[in-house]
Every structure is written in C-alpha cells, then in structure tokens.
C-alpha cells in the first residue's frame, strides 16, 4: 500500500509503485479531472499539481509522489461551488469540448499560486506545455487573466495556508 496526499486527504492505494499517478487518480480514487491524453507528457490533459508544481500525471510514478501534496481540479471546487479560477473559466466560457480544461486549470493554478500577478506573456509561456485542439486558447488566456486580476492574491494566499 502506498499512501498519497490528495487534495489534503490521505489516500491509501494498493498499486504498483511504478503505476503513473494518472491511473491511480482516475481508477482507484475515481477522480475525473485529470484526463488521459497521450501518456507521453506531450499534451498536458493529465496536469495536476504535486508539491506546488504543475506536473504531467501520466508520467509520474506514484512511488515518487508519496507524501507530497497532490492537488487536482477537484481540490479547487465543485460544479456547484467552483473555486475562483474555475469560476473565471465559467465566466469566460473558456471551453469547447473541454477535455483539456482541467489540465489547463491546474497548470494555471500552479502559476497563480507562485505569481498572483503574471503578465500576459508570462501566462502564454507558462501554458505552452498544454494543448487545446478546439482552439479555445484565447478564452483560456482571458480566464487566467481574469482570475489573476480578481483573485490572484487570494489564490496565492490559499496555497501558502494549505502547503504541505
């Protein structure tokens, strides 16, 4: 058994330590946010935060995650009570199919927790690892901008209080 720290809670999972975190999140912990996109670390659909950093969970063996704080999109809010960054995505209607969006949100969350007031250029650079196929990029950028302008400091402060 390996004990993981997922969204502030301990979760004991019975899986091989080489199993990528993505499969444990989806299959063992029944979390939908992180998506399988490529399994190669090329697209970012599986992005979650580990120890404050955005990581591709499809490449991260759980054996390397143990004890480090994992945050997924479920840790930011719910469909009926979304967190500030999720709300910004809703406000900007920043999705088409939306398959990439949970990964986008977690990559942006990692940026805002570290830097509550990024420039537009910093946001673009930071988001570069994540792919969107529907062409929703401009709405995604606007959503991150909106969250930073409205709640950037709050998002950053939350990370400090909830840091491992």
């Amino acid at each position: 058994m390996i004990t993981l720290n997922i969204n502030g809670r301990a979760a004991a999972v019975d899986a091989d330590p080489t199993t990528p975190l993505l499969y444990v999140l989806r299959d063992d912990l029944k979390l939908n946010g992180a998506k399988f996109g490529c399994g190669l670390g090329q697209c970012g659909a599986c992005t979650v935060m580990v120890g404050g950093q955005a990581v591709m969970s499809c490449l991260m063996p759980i054996g390397l995650v143990e004890q480090r704080a994992v945050k997924t999109v479920e840790g930011l809010g719910t469909p009926t009570a979304p967190g500030p960054l999720q709300q910004a995505f809703i406000d900007e209607q920043a999705a088409q199919c939306g398959y990439c969006i949970a990964g986008m949100i977690m990559r942006a969350q990692a940026l805002l927790e570290r830097n509550p007031h990024p420039s537009d250029a910093e946001i673009r650079r930071h988001m570069a690892p994540n792919l969107c196929r529907c062409g929703t990029h401009l709405r995604i950028l606007r959503a991150v901008r909106r969250a930073a302008d409205r709640s950037g400091v709050a998002i950053a402060a939350e990370s400090r209080t909830s840091a491992p």
Binding site: Y23, G39, A95, G135
Partner: protein
C-alpha cells in the same frame, strides 16, 4: 396516462410513459434498455417532406417534447454534443417557444432507444435540422397546451399569457403546463405551419446563454464517456498492426495471459485485444503483446515526396459540377495556379473511447460517435445480431471535428464485450492509435485558371479539384476498423462522392462569386492508400483556400484592392455585408503595414448554403526562422437567426485558431508502409505562444431567417486569409499546405 389512446406501443409512446427515463447520462436500467431496443424496430412513420427540419423524419411531437405533471420539460434530440455547445442552443430554442425557463429543461441527446434518428451530427446541420424541428415542435406543443388552458379557464386562447410554463388569464387566474399535460395530447404528427413567437417577444433566443456543460468540465464532474465507471467494468486495449497492410505472422500470448489483472487476450485475424481488471494493467499487457507480436509488412503507401504525383496518377471519375456560359479556350493571358493539401488529422486531445456491455444477448454501447443509429447498424452487422439487440447511447467525448476514431473504438469495445459477457468493457485508444488509425482528411489538389477583362472583371473561370471521398462513416460493418482486421474481414463500403450541393471533395468548389463563364470539375479518386473520411469542413478547407488565394492573385494582377475585387464580383447582399463588416472592423483601408507583417482577407459561405464568414488577418513573418504567426484576426459571420451569440463566437474563434494550426503546421507523415506521425511530436499543433494576440468575431444577426450552421464556416477562409497576408507581407505566394517554417524559409529566401 390519458393521452395514450391507442394500443399501439412504439418508441414515442415509450418515451411518453417512461418516467424513469428522464435523467440522461446514467446507465438506464436493463429493462428500459431492452424496451427501447425492442420497440425501435417498429416501422417509423412515413416521411413528411413538407415539415420543417428533422420533423421530416420524426414528425411526432411527443418524439421531441415531453412535459411531466410537476412541470419539468424534457426535450429529445437525435443530435449529439461534440463540444460545439449544441445542447445549450437547443435548450434555448425549446425554452423560447415553450415559454419556460431554460433551467426547467432537460435535454436528452442521441440514443437509439430514446431519441429520433437524426443521422449524423455533422456538416453544421444541427441547428438547421434539430433546432428547427425542436422550435416548431415546441411552438405546436405550446399551442396545444394553450388550447387546453383556454378551455380550462374559459377564455379565448389569444387572451392568454404565458410566463415560465404558467398560463395566465384575466383576473389573476392561471394554470401551469404540468396541470394540463394529463388532458393535453400531443402524440400527433406535426403540422407544416407553427405559431412561432414573434421576434420582438424573444427573451432567450438571441441572448448569450452560459453553456450547461461547462461547470462539470471545469470541476471534475462526470462529463465524458471516458469518465463513466460502470459496475464491474473492465478495461480493454487493442494491439494494432504497425501499418495498414501488415499481417500478423505470430503471437504467443501465454506470458501476457499470466500478467497481473489480465483476464483475456482476444485474437481474431489481425485484431488483437486484451482485457484486464484495471486500466493500467491493460496498458501493461498491451505493451507486452506489442513486443510479442511478429508482423509482416507491405510497402503500400505512396512515397511521401511523391504524394501529389500519386494523387494525380490515381484513376479519376470526373464530373462537371458547374458549366456556365462559354468558357474561353485556353488563353495565354490566363492566370493559373495549383493548390495542395496533405493528409491531415482530427487529432483529438482525448483518444477515442467507448464502453460496451453484453447482457442477456443484448449490447449496450456508450459512445461519442457522431451517429448512434448508423453505428448501431454497423455494430449489429459486425456482431451478426439484429439491430434491436444493440443500443447506442451518445455520451460526450473529446472534440472530434469530424469522423475520428469514435466509431472504431466502439467496434473494439463490442468485440471485447462479446468475449466478456456481463461485464462492461471500456476501451480507450492510446495516443498512437488515434494518430495512426483515425481516418484522415484526404490529400487534395486544386487547379484554378482565369482571365480578366480590361475592366478587371473575371471573364472566365476554370477550376478542377482532385480528391478521395470525404466520408467513410459507418452504416456498414466494413466501415469499422476492427471489422477489416478480422480473420474473415468485412469489406469497406465502396467509397462514393458526396453529391452536390453540399459536396465532399467538391464542397465549396463552386465560387459564390458572379462569374459569367465558369467551369468546375470534380475528379473523384476512388483508390485510397490510407483510410480517409470527414474532417471539419471536408473539401471546403482546400477549395476555399484555393479560390480565395486565387481571388487575391487575380486582384493583385488587376491592381485592385482584394476586398473591393471580391465585392465587385458579389451580388449576394448577405455576403457583401459580412465582407464589409470584417474589413471595416479590421481597419482594412487604413492598415499600416509594418516590416515583416501583412494583411490578408478571405470569404466564403460554407457549402454555399450555410453560414457566411469573412475574415481579415494581420500576419507576422520571421524571415530568419520562417515562423508565421497570426497577430490578429477579425471575422464577421452571418448564421441566420442567432440563438446563442457566444456559441457562434466560440465556434468561429476556435475555427480560426484550429485552421491556423492546420495551415501552418499540420501534415500526416508516412514512409513506404507506416504512418510515422504517431504522437504530438510527429504531428505538432499550435501551442499557446503561437496563437493570435486577438480574435474578434462580429455577428450579423438575421432575425426571422433560418438557422445556418456555423461550426465549419471559418476553416477555409482562415487558411486563405493567412496565405494572402503572407503574400502581402513577403511578396511570395505559398500554395502548398501547410506553411511550415522550412517551407516558408525556402520560399521567401534570406532577408
């Protein structure tokens, strides 16, 4: 229920009576599934061609609208949500005509046991087909309810008012829809005319409405077929051949069968699948099987450097699709040009996925297919069972942009489910499956030739396009990848050209411009080295790219402004309006050209009968690297009557960005036997640093005009606007897609 008067039990009756079936997106109980499948075999009503939209194929009003005694409204559509926002727009249409709060409405989408057969959700048809049907059905149901309310309240119907499903009369008397349903019968065929609400009274149609599906998508709700977890579900993966013509020489699965969690290895010909308890166990088994399999490969693919030569040498079936006036004989003064596109991929971010379950001799399939009814037919043939024994339920997947692996993975899932009776089998393709085996958009060539008269008007126009088919969608088992890999393989349906006016390879090959003499030929190529099918906008992408590039070349040769040149060849007032709007909002006349930058313009009306789209762009070219970047784009669109303006904007914005990606970087690569672009490294798409700084979409609303599908309208114009801006910036015309850095650098030369 009182309104069920006849003893004939059919699907609509089933809908009207099955209170347990309202909630979408859940596993319906087995009995309901069996009922639905069993009843769907009953004869469909005869087509009623005079009816609006999809009422033609499903005329019964209760096939579209159901209202419960508690006032909840359920609307049924045979179309599917593909991420285009159709659910929200259809709810808006129903809410407007029923006069209820949109929040009161539950929408049930494509399901062979529950909804109308609306064919495929494709071709930007959903608003025209389903939106129109729901609009008219809702208006007619409202009229029936008002008729009952008038009797109940003893008032003339025209003196009644409706507010959120409550009918009011003088003196504060009122009655809610829910109280009327027991005595209101709309198990009736629709009438050709409907009492549609006056434009001026609209409160929902035409207003931006937030998409109902987005909250679950941003917060980890169950939003996709990939997220469904059925009781006792197991996981399958497929070991695909390394190349289309490869045969399986040997495979010893014994070691893999001993791996942890592996339940079964299924082999039939060169179809090899594995089923495991857990998903990652299935992935591990897949890798091990891949190493254990020995394949014999055949070099069947045209050499990449000879792609267009091989297209030209493919035997063609020619059809003249336009022959107007007297085309001039070959003229030395004619301007001519050739345009080409390679194989390109849908390349969905989420690999295709399906879940299938065999229970008591019946299959239930959860699928993101664009056509649950055609898929059901194909799966039934593949399995050798009656159609009644298969139920296909649409559940959203990752965006598909046409015919991707959605149907194929459903075939994979049923083949594995057949081997695992009782257990739901979830199959999700791996990235290399999606990039390697989806049916691609086919390579195409277009040749344009024209002469101008002394006044700078086009005198004659000659255009030819070479293309494979643009649809190999299922309907038959042979259209499913796995079925062609079995020991006794099914044969693919012989490819056919899609007929005009919509067309396939010749979609938008006929210009909308007023040309006195014009000749357009479609060279249909039957032989396909690689499987191809519908990719968003089909042949319109290349044809609009070619025609709109060529219009620019003609304008330049006549020393005329490209926007003015288009306008002087256009009589269609709506076309002129979007062109003028886009040019005006872009600041076309006052554009200040900076070094390395240029402006480009393009226009098309999708299929010549869908939405109008005009796009102006500013593009930046880096001479040293060959990098091309769209700086800003300004689009104007006319989609007829607007239902959800933000939905239209989202589609056009996304279309511009996606088409920019196709146009600047996308090309399927292959060697003599294999597709070699098997991941995002081999098939790069646009990333954040490359997307435009700004995309503005201006909507020309046409209240009272028919809905015009928008989803594919931007693909062609965006490509041509880039080409034209690139030519404006550098003086060099690129005609072969995509405009990769290497290709641009080679064309424009050093600074």
């Amino acid at each position: 229920m009182k309104r069920i008067a006849s003893s004939r039990l059919d699907r609509r009756r089933f809908l009207a009576s099955g209170a347990a079936l309202v909630v979408s997106f859940r596993l319906a109980d087995g009995a309901a599934a069996r009922n639905g499948a069993a009843q769907s075999k009953k004869a469909q009503p005869k087509p009623a061609p005079a009816l609006p939209g999809s009422l033609k194929t499903e005329p019964m009003l209760d096939g579209w609208i159901r209202i419960d005694a508690d006032g909840r409204v359920t609307v049924f559509t045979g179309k599917a949500e593909l991420g285009q926002g159709i659910k929200t727009a259809l709810i808006q249409v129903a809410a407007e005509e029923l006069v209820v709060d949109p929040a009161r409405i539950t929408l049930v989408t494509a399901d062979t046991a529950r909804t109308a057969n609306e064919g495929y959700t494709a071709g930007s048809h959903s608003m025209q087909d389903s939106g129109t049907a729901i609009r008219h059905a809702a208006a007619q149901v409202r009229a029936i309810l008002l008729g009952r309310a008038a009797e109940r309240l003893a008032v003339a119907p025209e003196r009644l008012t409706v507010k959120d499903g409550v009918v009011g009369a003088d003196g504060g008397r009122s009655v809610a829809y829910g109280e009327l349903v027991a005595e209101a019968n709309w198990h009736l065929a629709a009438a050709p005319q409907s009492p549609l609400r006056e434009q001026a009274t609209h409160t929902v149609i035409g207003q931006p409405m937030r998409r109902i599906d987005i909250p679950a998508k941003v917060a980890g709700g169950v939003a996709y077929v990939q997220d469904l977890r059925l009781d006792r579900m197991v996981h399958g993966r497929i070991v695909r051949p390394p190349s289309p013509a490869a045969s399986l020489a040997s495979l010893d699965p014994k070691a893999v069968e001993q791996q942890a969690g592996v339940l079964k290895v299924v082999r039939d010909g060169r179809f090899v699948g594995v089923v495991a308890e857990r998903e990652h166990q299935a992935v591990r088994a897949l890798r091990a099987l891949g190493l254990a399999a020995r394949w014999d490969e055949q070099p069947t693919l045209p050499l990449a450097q000879n792609l267009y030569k091989s297209v030209r040498e493919t035997p063609a079936e020619d059809s003249v699709i336009l022959d107007r006036g007297v085309p001039a004989p070959s003229d030395a003064a004619a301007l001519s040009a050739t345009y080409q596109r390679p194989y390109q991929a849908h390349a969905s971010i989420g690999p295709s996925c399906a879940i299938a379950q065999l229970l008591d001799g019946r299959y239930t399939v959860w699928t993101h297919s664009q056509g649950v009814y055609p898929l059901r037919s194909a799966l039934a043939e593949l399995l050798g069972v009656a159609k009644d024994a298969v139920r296909c339920i649409h559940v959203e997947g990752s965006g598909c942009y046409g015919h991707n692996g959605a149907d194929d993975v459903a075939a994979d899932a049923v083949l594995l489910a057949r081997a695992m009776p009782g257990r739901p089998v979830r199959v999700q393709w791996m990235r290399e499956d999606e990039h390697g085996w989806e049916p691609f958009g086919p390579p195409m060539i277009a040749e344009a030739k024209a002469t101008l008269d002394a006044a700078g008007m086009i005198r004659d126009w000659h255009y030819e396009v070479w293309s494979n088919t643009h649809s190999t969608r299922p309907g038959a088992a042979g259209d499913l990848l796995a079925a062609t890999h079995l020991a006794r393989p099914f044969k693919p349906t012989p490819p056919k050209p899609l007929p005009q006016p919509e067309g396939g390879g010749d979609r938008n090959a006929i210009p909308l411009y007023a040309l006195p003499n014009a000749h357009v030929v479609h060279h249909f190529l039957r032989k396909m080295p690689l499987r191809v099918s519908a990719l968003r906008s089909l042949g319109a992408y290349l044809n609009v790219f070619a025609i709109e590039s060529f219009m620019d070349e003609l304008a330049r040769s006549a020393n005329l402004d490209p926007v003015a040149f288009r306008l002087r060849h256009l009589n269609d007032a709506r076309a002129r309006d979007v062109i003028k709007t886009a040019a005006d909002r872009f600041g076309w006349p006052t554009f200040q050209r900076r070094p390395g930058r240029g402006r480009g313009f393009a226009f098309a009306r999708y299929k010549n009968l869908g939405a109008y789209a005009a796009i102006a762009m500013e593009v930046e070219v880096q001479r040293d690297s060959g990098r091309v970047r769209v700086v800003r784009a300004v689009a104007a669109t006319d989609s007829g009557e607007v239902v959800n303006p933000d939905g239209i904007r989202n589609q056009i914005e996304g279309g511009i960005v996606q088409s920019s990606s196709w146009t600047l970087s996308e090309e399927v690569t292959f060697d003599a036997s294999r597709v070699t672009s098997r991941d995002w490294g081999g098939y790069p798409i646009l990333r954040f640093p490359d997307v435009p700084e700004q995309v503005d979409v201006h909507i020309v609303d046409r209240p009272g005009q028919p809905f015009l599908g928008t989803g594919e309208a931007a693909q062609g114009p965006a490509a041509a606007a880039i080409a034209n801006a690139l030519a404006d910036a550098t003086g060099v015309r690129l005609r072969e897609l995509p405009f990769t850095r290497d290709r641009v650098r080679a064309a424009i030369g050093p600074a």
